[in-house]
Assembly symmetry: C2
Amino acid sequence: MQPFTDTARLSLNQMTTELWSLREAVEGCARQGIPAIGLWRHKIAEAGLTESSRLVRDAGLRVSSVCRGGMFPASTARERQARIDDNCRAVDEAAALGADTLVLVCGASPDCDIDGARRMVRDGISQVVLYARGSNVRIGVEPLHPMFAAERSVIVTLAEANEIAEEYTPAEVGVVVDVYHLWWDPQVYVEIKRAAGRILGFHVSDWIVPVPDMLMGRGMMGDGVIELRRLREAVDEAGYDGFIEVEIFNRAICNMPGEETLKLMQARYLSCV
Amino acid sequence: MQPFTDTARLSLNQMTTELWSLREAVEGCARQGIPAIGLWRHKIAEAGLTESSRLVRDAGLRVSSVCRGGMFPASTARERQARIDDNCRAVDEAAALGADTLVLVCGASPDCDIDGARRMVRDGISQVVLYARGSNVRIGVEPLHPMFAAERSVIVTLAEANEIAEEYTPAEVGVVVDVYHLWWDPQVYVEIKRAAGRILGFHVSDWIVPVPDMLMGRGMMGDGVIELRRLREAVDEAGYDGFIEVEIFNRAICNMPGEETLKLMQARYLSCV
């Protein structure tokens, strides 16, 4: 297994430098020679969509993904429709930014039984796919770690995400592989192979021991137990040649000066991914 | 789905009343009419094995399980052997207490790759099974929630536990179904059916939202999102008619007076399980 010799596929997911505005993150990437960025919608909203597009274009960056659509389960039909409408706006934003993937965090609801919530996810996706037809935006279903099943995503394995994606063409729906969410799964390598041709994103971070916080406790690559290179090579063998987003939700890393975070993640990307 | 009308199958897992000694827990169950108890080895060691057996027998209680064996992965062969030896002692303790099941928390190690750790688990189990032959103690493989994959158990799905168990006869190895560890799994009902004839224990608690703590944040039945009755009925339909252990790792519940905890868990068992 060979390390990368350059950072041509590296992308900064904005959550890694959460204190930076969109402008600061874009400028940081440009200065640091990071070729792509994964944008979050609350940051796009803060800067404005037109201005966000202009900033990214002027900096010569690619937008590796827009995060996030999804969050389909809700207890009333009215609320579910509102969420589908919001997903359609997210498709428009991704298109305006030249991103080819909208990442879905599918959602969960303590008010519904888990099977019901899973049906709402499938129903929501089918409607967003209809809306996205004719745009160049694909829907990337991202399974989340099972510890988020009650609050963020009832889609918790790559098998489930593949099953949903396979109901559509690869030009419409694919999957996003995030090592933090999937490393524990005894089926992960089988399911990465199954996802060949449908992998729309690959996210890296690490699982540190002990986990300092369920939501904000991800580690920098190399600081934990995840077999990063093995997973990256599996994704590559499945034909993925797109950007590799560093997405780290971590309070301490958030609070580092952004430039330092970028340098550290470049170094760790080369040594660990 | 019908609620229970009595507590004939209820068992107190000692971790639920962690501040109680073995004697206090046994006396509490006897006073409260709880017919069984799941014992932990550090509590047995504290009271002494002979005294523990006497206390349980004199109180007329059944021992629904002994927790826990396992913890097989380690970085040196010497340490792995020491852990297997310790599992053999646990088999002897279970036999002395008249428990027919030793529960395994299989272990994890940040020093090994996850496949390597899984091989160590299988190897360790094979040796403990050899040792347990001729005793009346069966080995119960308990898959833990994937959030414990780096520190406590690389066996994280019921599918994996079933696969291991199926290498042996049902008189030797089975599985333990704990709702807290498995409720998120889209395959859980399929795998419960597959486990028919091999289910050696059923543990209940709840997943509260938000989770207050990864290790010590389980909830009392009814306080969270787990479909307890649906899971219990699935286990019953698979032929399980053994004890149902209430196993709650929770700081606030630990700190309640034990008698109150027992009354609350009896009420919730009847209304929610």
